[in-house]
């Protein structure tokens, strides 16, 4: 009897054990949508930093009121949003308007989750072509950019002055490395960036990768190796801290705001924080290997309209999209997000009200979409191999040459 009871208990334990693991692994879904054409319209965005009192949410509510509907807004962490959107589409309860990171658009389009702007009559003519490119695939456009950001080099004026470096002398890789050497000799730290093993790491590496003339289709080219060697050498010589291997762009920024670093590679969105850093800063475009501005990847989100069973909902959703991407609202939104507007008109207004943004507007004009060059859904597979190679080389487990060789082989196999 005792053994029976205990074996029952044991089976119970085994079942609980099984379930505990299963529950963490299994996908779950949640949420429901109203099915009529009227009622509440749902908007998902990747801006959890904005609460209900923020200008962003007020804008969403106002756009809803103008369109004669109420709006239910849900904010997700940007890394969660892709899988959330795919699951919702699978369950048939996609939001009416989905604001999503630009390299995800081609993935969602591939999945058949998004409508084309042609289908829904959304006007994209005012948008700059290099920004709109990230939302296009197979000749179709799947959304409207709500704003753009990109990367540049922030520098700490005091640190550079103390080391005797003139920021205007930094025009290519050689002069940048020379500046880092001087700063390090002067007892300060050189440059911080983010080389974490996620998409963020690839995003930060791309200006150096493209800046040496490398192409995403050949990860092991001599140019690519030159780009990765630049970073690896910086780490070996102590010009960049070892912590970059684990840095997100946020933790990298925290290092820069300690006031110890001369340079930080970071994005437009840090502009508001830079003012709070408590020291004088300047901004440089990221230099190409032998001069000029390196093409940085475009960041920023797209406003998209997921496919609905009730096609009657498109008309109102389209009003919401047009409201969010109208010139005046773009200006307000991009100021809140610390982004650069995607249209010439709004950019001109931004620079007029804040001349400091000129560097960023130029950088955005020179920037390139990651999923452009017809890469589309091949980009995520290439990117994953690229960030792995960066991690292997920076942590010293492989040479840049070997790491990129392996990455190219894996990327070629994955995108075949």
């Amino acid at each position: 009897m005792r053994s029976l009871a205990s074996s029952r208990r044991a089976i119970g334990v085994a079942v609980v054990a099984l379930i505990a693991v299963a529950a963490t692994v299994a996908c779950s879904s949640s949420g429901d949508s109203s099915s009529e054409a009227g009622g509440a319209y749902t908007i998902w965005d990747p801006y959890p930093q904005f609460d209900n009192g923020s200008d962003w949410v007020k804008l969403l509510t106002r756009c809803g009121t103008d369109a004669g509907v109420s709006v239910t807004r849900t904010a997700y962490d940007t890394t969660d949003l892709t899988s959330k959107a795919l699951l919702a589409a699978q369950q048939g309860n996609s939001p009416d308007v989905l604001i999503v990171d630009n390299p995800v658009v081609s993935t969602l389009a591939e999945a058949g989750v998004l409508t084309t702007t042609e289908q829904t009559n959304v006007d994209t003519s005012a948008m700059q072509p290099n920004l709109l490119g990230a939302g296009q695939s197979g000749g179709k456009t799947y959304g409207v950019p709500i704003g753009a950001n990109t990367l540049a080099l922030y520098y700490n004026k005091a640190v550079l002055a103390a080391a005797g470096v003139d920021p205007s002398s930094v025009t290519d890789w050689a002069t940048l490395t020379a500046a880092l050497a001087k700063v390090t000799t002067a007892g300060k730290k050189g440059i911080t960036f983010s080389a974490i093993g996620t998409e963020e790491g690839s995003f930060q590496f791309l200006p150096w990768f493209w800046g040496s003339g490398a192409q995403l289709t050949t990860l092991d080219s001599a140019e690519a190796v030159a780009g990765l060697s630049l970073w690896t050498d910086w780490l070996e010589k102590g010009y960049a801290p070892n912590s970059v291997i684990n840095n997100t762009q946020t933790t990298s920024w925290q290092e820069f705001t300690s006031g110890q670093y001369a340079f930080a590679e970071n994005g437009t969105w840090q502009l508001a924080n830079a003012k709070k850093a408590g020291f004088e800063y300047g901004i440089l475009a990221i230099p190409g290997k032998s001069g000029g501005t390196a093409p940085a990847p475009t960041g920023g989100e797209f406003v998209t309209m997921p496919v609905q069973k009730q096609t009657g909902r498109y008309a109102v959703a389209q009003k919401l999209v047009n409201c969010l991407t109208s010139s005046d609202n773009l200006l307000a939104t991009d100021t809140t997000l610390s982004y650069i507007a995607p249209t010439d008109a709004a950019q001109a207004k931004q620079v007029a009200s804040n001349p400091e943004l000129k560097v960023w507007v130029d950088a955005v004009k020179a920037a390139k979409g990651r999923t452009g060059d017809n890469l589309g859904t091949k980009y995520p597979k290439i990117s994953e191999q690229m960030w792995k190679a960066v991690q292997s080389a920076l942590s010293g487990s492989q040479t840049p040459q070997a790491a990129l060789g392996q990455a190219q082989a894996a990327a070629a196999a994955a995108t075949r």
Binding site: A20, G197, I245, N246
Partner: protein
């Protein structure tokens, strides 16, 4: 005659009532456990692309996903890391938890307060404890390296060198798991009758002998369940590793759990099939551990 039908009707009613009481539980189990498990199995047996995930119609490919993940260059390191991480974590958690349990069992002053303090790691949300560890072990600004430098040592790249990353996440995980072992083993100790110790003392047993011959054997059932639950918890540890290292650098701290997440959700283009396949391997491992536990229990019960 009439009484018999009444009794039968009564029994029938009771039967129905019994089923009625069971129904919510069964529905709950089916909905929240059986269905996700089934879906996970199905995901792993089909060739899902993002398109077929949403639109349906993914072709059945049998064990192709499993073959692919086993052939993947990440598989072997991930498996080795999982085994090392689990065994080392369990060993230290159990040994330290046992030592502390025996220590606190002596009921000195403040023992209750101290014991409560030892529970803190367990009460903290994992995101808090992992982020704190990650901050303490930071190569540049971490407090651990500051101490190492002050003592004249070379700073160690805890989270950013392939040689240390697995050790770092294991240390953090051991710290988090000690209270769990402490609590279970301590409650086990309280169930051992003091008379046995008294008898052992009268027979002239030393402190070590009392532990070795009395405490340890009598704690065996509690130890077994502690280790089993610990094994299941440790196999699926994901948050600690993901927050501290993202499984990196260069897969040096990737376990099956983080790899499964990486495949399914970690990149812009999710690979649900292979991700589910890795997850299922974990489930099988946990199930195997559960079955082994039952065998051991049978064997113990048979001996008793």
């Amino acid at each position: 005659m009439q009484a018999a039908t009444q009794a039968a009707a009564y029994r029938g009613g009771r039967q129905w009532a019994a089923w009625g009481f069971l129904l919510p539980l069964v529905a709950y189990l089916l909905l929240f456990y059986a269905y996700p498990l089934y879906r996970n199995l199905e995901l792993s047996l089909r060739d899902y692309t993002v398109r077929s995930f949403v639109q349906g119609g993914a072709p059945f490919t049998g064990l192709t996903n499993y073959r692919d993940i086993v052939d993947d260059p990440t598989f072997e390191p991930a498996l080795t890391h999982t085994v090392v991480f689990t065994v080392v974590s369990l060993g230290f958690q159990f040994a330290i938890g046992m030592a502390l349990a025996v220590f606190f069992h002596q009921h000195f002053r403040l023992s209750a307060t101290l014991r409560a303090l030892f529970l803190v790691p367990w009460l903290l949300p994992l995101i808090v404890s992992s982020s704190t560890w990650s901050w303490m072990l930071n190569s540049e600004a971490g407090v651990v390296n500051t101490v190492v430098r002050a003592l004249g040592g070379e700073p160690i790249h805890w989270l950013t060198s392939p040689g240390w990353s697995l050790a770092s996440v294991t240390i953090a995980n051991i710290w988090i798991g000690i209270p769990f072992n402490l609590v279970l083993l301590y409650s086990g100790l309280q169930n051992i009758s003091p008379q046995i110790y008294e008898a052992a003392a009268l027979d002239g047993a030393t402190g070590w002998q009392r532990f070795r011959r009395v405490t340890f054997p009598l704690l065996r059932p509690v130890s077994a369940i502690t280790l089993l639950l610990g094994l299941v918890y440790t196999l699926k540890v994901f948050d600690v590793i993901w927050i501290m290292t993202r499984g990196g650098p260069a897969d040096s701290s990737t376990t099956l759990a983080t790899w499964s997440y990486q495949l399914g959700f970690g990149s812009l283009l999710p690979q649900f099939g292979p991700g589910a396949a890795v997850g299922n391997l974990l489930i099988v491992a946990a199930l195997a551990a559960g079955l082994a536990y039952i065998r051991v229990q049978h064997w113990q019960a048979g001996r008793a």
